[in-house]
């Protein structure tokens, strides 16, 4: 019986090659997209799962509220890990990681700046699954100046992996003893380091301070431990250890602190949630967003649904051809069950064919998709172990879903009706089909609107006046390498023709370097009058180089010795502090932990707000201090011949240091910060185009169906003298109506949902009416073009032929 199904299905499919091709092509497109998204989503969901104890590992976080200032940290206090291990029997182990920043590593005469460096406790290998190839994981990170390398780093520096016992020279002559080599950390990890230096090499790690946070701290629970119960015990724990310092610094008990509306709390994030659900200060890498996982999954399902709807519509479109077959089979004794099975077999076969095409297409398109998404997805034997079952499940589900409507629809034909040739007018069933078309087009229109809004928003972010000017600003990296010569270098660069100005600091709106300090509004360190701003060390050329505007007061000046305790605050900070006239107001800064030793600062100027974090967030308070910082040298240039100027600056650099000259342009750095959004926009655009193509394939088939169904009507109309244009119009009208309904359905939904998406951005566009009109117009034009092809074809057909076909 099954062989018979397959045989008939195969022959019927090959007989109608055009229909079959449209069906397979549409489904294959949908499935290929779906496959790529499945790979993407699976990759996002696979983060940190390489850890065999992943379900028992949690990161400890710190939430701080001080007055009106909120901070969420992924980092905690230095003694926390060890104390948790001592105090709680359910904690099997705990480990701290502290990013070490840039290390200069010597390779022969070359000095390479490495950023993948971290200090780690010896317990690292008990908690995380980092298989050691050489060395003893139990002791590798015990002694000071020990380092564990990844395989690729060992190869990079020694051309071999067995390097235990050898010495790595770093920075200014520091020697690190290589005590282990581990396998490279999988890409799908929330941290990716190449140098694990023993924590004992870092003196600060021994500090017993409970009011500072700079260590990413992870705990490994014993099997069966209740992490929720553990979390409930944390407030008492924190109170026990930090109340002493709280008293000394703020003259407050923890209770009084909490009563004043402030808080200081610890909580847990499961390891497996870090990549998609955590976005705190002090994360070890740029994490993903679960929102995108949801959005892309939804798109995959939408596209697949559109493809399924096509399949249904095209299959029923062919039903008048198949009706007689159904009738004969029924007369000969086939039950409805058999017929349903037959049609389902057929659609599963088509889906199988489409899936094969899709699979090959996905392999071919993967590099392109990787390029767009910034991922490194691969299809290998390991991927196939889960991908093939997933694919088979998709084939069966889609096959049955897509085939269900035709199967039940066709198998319900009454044999006498179809055998007497009444079928063409015998079934209407058009309502469901219309509904399906409306569904498809609603999704397409939604995607069009979504794409336009996302593009507009990204464009807005990139062209918005950010409060500073990032054009023609050359950022020279690693100016700190020049040490005490940095200032001289800056002066010399400023002399060069074509250079407008230059400023020496690591704190740039586009850089990663940030620091926060607490300032108090009065000398008693009342935390209700505190402010917790970004506090950046800059020089007197900062504002003018970056084109920031002073709205009150003045800029820093070298001529004013008192400016060393002067502050320039941004408008938000002024608002936050509640100062109507902030100039000459005094702020106190706690420098050594004792509140009675507050240092006095006076406000000399207010700078117009400028944007320095994601435009998703509101501008927070900033305080600028006149202090030395040599992170970068930012140079505002006006020269028309920038390459020549860069060459001159490079020659100057080389006269100071042998270290490689590296630079970037500030506008590029800015773009880089929004790359993930841009990527999302591009991917969204591609998916939209795909969805529309698939929907049009379906409409194309449906128009053919309508024309076929109305062959006789067209013939009669022509015989009675209707023109081609008139007939094409009559045929297209029905579809246009459906697209208009789709516009009415999807426009408000799209408007609502895209507005919700925009709420995430502190600086956002409002959705213009023309976006909605444009999307509707685009969908309508595409539909008209698609449908008219079939309508005109039908209208041009010879009426004698169509009348005889009855």
């Amino acid at each position: 019986m099954f062989r018979n199904y397959v045989k008939t299905a195969f022959r019927s499919l090959t007989k109608n090659k055009a229909f079959t091709a449209i069906n397979i092509l549409g489904l294959a497109l949908g499935l290929a997209t779906c496959l790529l998204i499945v790979l993407y989503v699976a990759d996002e969901l696979s983060y940190d799962r390489y850890n065999t104890k992943a379900d028992r590992i949690y990161r400890v976080n710190e939430d701080l509220k001080l007055g009106n200032n909120n901070a969420l940290y992924a980092v905690c206090m230095p003694p926390l890990a060890q104390t948790l291990k001592n105090d709680f029997p359910e904690v099997q182990d705990a480990v701290r990681l502290k990013q070490a920043g840039g290390f200069h590593v010597k390779k022969g005469n070359e000095s390479i700046l490495e950023y993948g460096t971290v200090f780690a406790d010896p317990s690292l290998f008990n908690v995380f699954t980092l298989p050691m190839i050489y060395g003893n994981p139990a002791t590798a990170l015990k002694d000071p100046n020990s380092v564990v390398l990844t395989e690729r780093t060992a190869k990079k520096y020694f051309n071999t992996t067995n390097v235990v016992g050898r010495i790595l020279k770093v920075n200014d002559g520091q020697l690190l003893n290589i005590t282990g080599v581990i396998k490279d950390i999988p890409k799908q990890s929330h941290f990716n380091f190449d140098f694990f230096v023993s924590m004992s090499s870092w003196a600060d790690s021994k500090l017993n301070q409970w009011l500072r946070s700079d260590y990413n701290t992870y705990v490994l629970f014993k099997k069966g431990a209740d992490h929720q119960a553990f979390e409930k015990k944390l407030p008492a724990f924190l109170n026990k250890y930090s109340s002493g310092e709280m008293q000394a610094n703020l003259h407050l008990t923890m209770d009084a602190f909490e009563k004043s509306g402030s808080y200081f709390r610890l909580n847990l994030t499961p390891l497996l949630d870090i990549h998609l659900h955590s976005n705190r200060d002090g994360e070890l890498s740029h994490n993903g967003t679960v929102q995108y996982v949801y959005i892309f999954s939804a798109i995959a399902i939408f596209i697949l649904l559109i493809a399924c709807v096509n399949f249904m519509n095209l299959s029923t479109a062919r039903s008048s051809n198949r009706a007689r077959e159904v009738g004969v089979r029924k007369v000969l004794g086939s039950s409805r069950k058999y017929l349903i099975a037959q049609f389902l077999t057929e659609s599963v076969l088509v889906t199988l064919a489409a899936a094969s095409v899709a699979f090959i297409a996905a392999i071919i398109l993967l590099p392109v998709f990787n390029h767009l998404s910034g991922k490194e997805l691969v299809i290998n034997a390991q991927t196939l172990t889960w991908l093939i079952p997933v694919l088979l499940a998709i084939i069966i589900v889609v096959g049955c879903l897509a085939g269900s409507y035709p199967a039940f629809f066709l198998s319900a034909f009454q044999p006498i009706g179809v055998l007497n040739g009444k079928i063409a007018s015998g079934f209407k069933g058009g309502r469901l089909r219309s509904l399906l078309v409306v569904f498809q087009f609603s999704i397409s229109i939604f995607l069009i609107i979504g794409t336009i809004v996302i593009y507009n928003q990204l464009n807005y972010i990139q062209t918005k006046n950010l409060g500073y000017n990032r054009d023609q600003v050359l950022v020279i990296d690693k100016a700190f390498e020049l040490g005490s010569h940095a200032k001289t270098f800056k002066q010399q660069v400023k002399q060069l023709p074509g250079v407008v100005n230059a400023t020496l600091t690591g704190y740039l709106p586009t850089s990663q370097m940030r620091s926060t300090t607490i300032f108090f509004g009065d000398a008693t360190a009342d935390q209700k009058k505190s402010i917790f701003p970004q506090s950046w060390n800059v020089d007197e050329d900062y504002l003018s180089t970056l084109g920031m505007k002073i709205t009150a007061g003045r800029n820093f000046s070298n001529q004013m010795p008192t400016d060393s305790t002067g502050l320039i605050i941004n408008e938000t900070a002024a608002k936050f502090l509640g100062f109507k006239d902030p100039l000459n107001k005094i702020l106190y800064r706690n420098t050594d932990g004792n509140r009675d030793h507050g240092k006095r600062y006076h406000i000399i100027g207010v700078v117009k707000d400028f944007n320095f974090s994601s435009l998703r967030e509101n501008i927070s308070p900033v305080v600028l201090l006149l202090n030395e910082d040599t992170g970068y040298l930012s140079v505002k240039v006006s020269a028309s011949n920038i390459p020549a100027l860069i060459a001159r600056i490079k020659r100057k650099w080389e006269s100071f240091t042998p270290i490689h000259f590296e630079y970037s342009f500030m506008d590029q750095d800015f773009d880089a910060a929004y790359r993930s959004e841009q990527r999302t926009g591009t991917i969204f655009l591609i998916f939209t185009v795909l969805a529309i193509i698939i929907a049009c394939l379906g409409l194309f088939g449906l128009a053919a169906y309508a024309a076929e169904q109305r062959t006789k009507e067209i013939g009669i109309r022509k015989v009675l003298g209707a023109s081609v244009a008139l007939i094409a119009g009559t045929l297209s009208k029905d579809f246009i109506k459906l697209v208009l309904i789709s516009i009415a359905v999807s426009t408000p939904i799209a408007w609502y949902l895209m507005n919700k998406w925009l709420q995430d951005f502190a600086y956002r566009i409002t959705i213009q009416w023309w976006v909605l009109v444009l999307a509707g117009f685009a969908a309508l034009s595409i539909a008209i073009v698609t449908v008219s092809f079939q309508s005109i074809k039908a209208a041009l057909a010879n009426p004698v032929k169509s009348l005889r076909s009855e």
Binding site: R11, K15, G327, V328, R329, V331, L332, G333, S335, P415
Partner: protein, 225 residues
């Protein structure tokens, strides 16, 4: 074998009710060859559809082989049909996607005959109909006469007790038409009951008895033998 009594069938549209069969009573005995004649719209096809259990009557009784089937549901009728009745249509109604052999094999698949037995029986009947040489051809490559032979082969492969033929020669030239009538006569002589709807007096002469219908009622019966 067949006894219908006061059979009624109506067709309703929104405004008009048409009576297709008006308290029609007919009896057909085992081994008979009956022709049904009458002008278009007299109810011939409706009668044949009801006799073939493709349609159900609105009133009256239909006893098939001693069993009252008028109230049977779709599934029971399908079951009875596939074991007892073969159909021959004016337009052959072969499935284009299946070869001659596969078309003839189809009823056997639906009645669950095992594969080896099917091959034997299909070959047997193809041989008898003298179309063995076209067994692997598709219907559209055959002449009308050959197609109707295939259709008859398909109708008889299950050895039905009754064959219902709806203008079996309507789409054929006279020579092929005569061949088909000879085949049916031959089947009848070997014991199969045949009920045939026809417009052709010539074809009707092959039968034992002609039932003439008008407006859903019997107006005349001619005994031919």
């Amino acid at each position: 074998m067949i006894k219908i009594t006061d059979l009624e069938k109506f067709y309703r549209t929104e405004e008009v009710e048409t009576i297709a069969l008006n308290k029609l009573s007919i009896e057909v005995k085992r081994g008979e060859f009956v022709a049904i004649m009458g002008p278009s719209g007299c109810g011939k096809s409706t009668l044949l559809n009801i006799l073939g259990m493709l349609d159900d009557p609105d009133g009256g009784s239909y006893v098939f082989n001693g069993v009252e089937v008028a109230h049977f549901n779709e599934r029971k009728r399908a079951d009875l049909r596939k074991h007892n009745i073969g159909f021959v249509f004016q337009s052959f109604n072969l499935i284009d996607e299946l070869t001659v052999f596969e078309n003839v094999e189809l009823p056997l698949i639906y009645t669950g005959v095992p594969s080896s037995e099917r091959v034997k029986r299909v070959e047997e009947v193809l041989d008898k109909m003298q179309i063995m040489h076209s067994r692997n051809h598709y219907p559209q490559h055959l002449s009308g006469g050959q197609q109707q032979r295939v259709a008859i082969a398909r109708a008889v492969v299950n050895k039905p007790k009754l064959i219902l033929a709806d203008e079996p020669t309507g789409n054929l030239d006279s020579s092929n038409g005569n061949d088909v009538m000879e085949l049916l006569t031959d089947l009848n002589e070997h014991g199969t009951t045949i009920i045939m709807v026809t417009h052709s007096e010539h074809d009707a002469r092959y039968s034992h008895r002609i039932i003439r219908l008008l407006d859903g009622q019997t107006v005349m019966e001619n005994i031919m033998i």
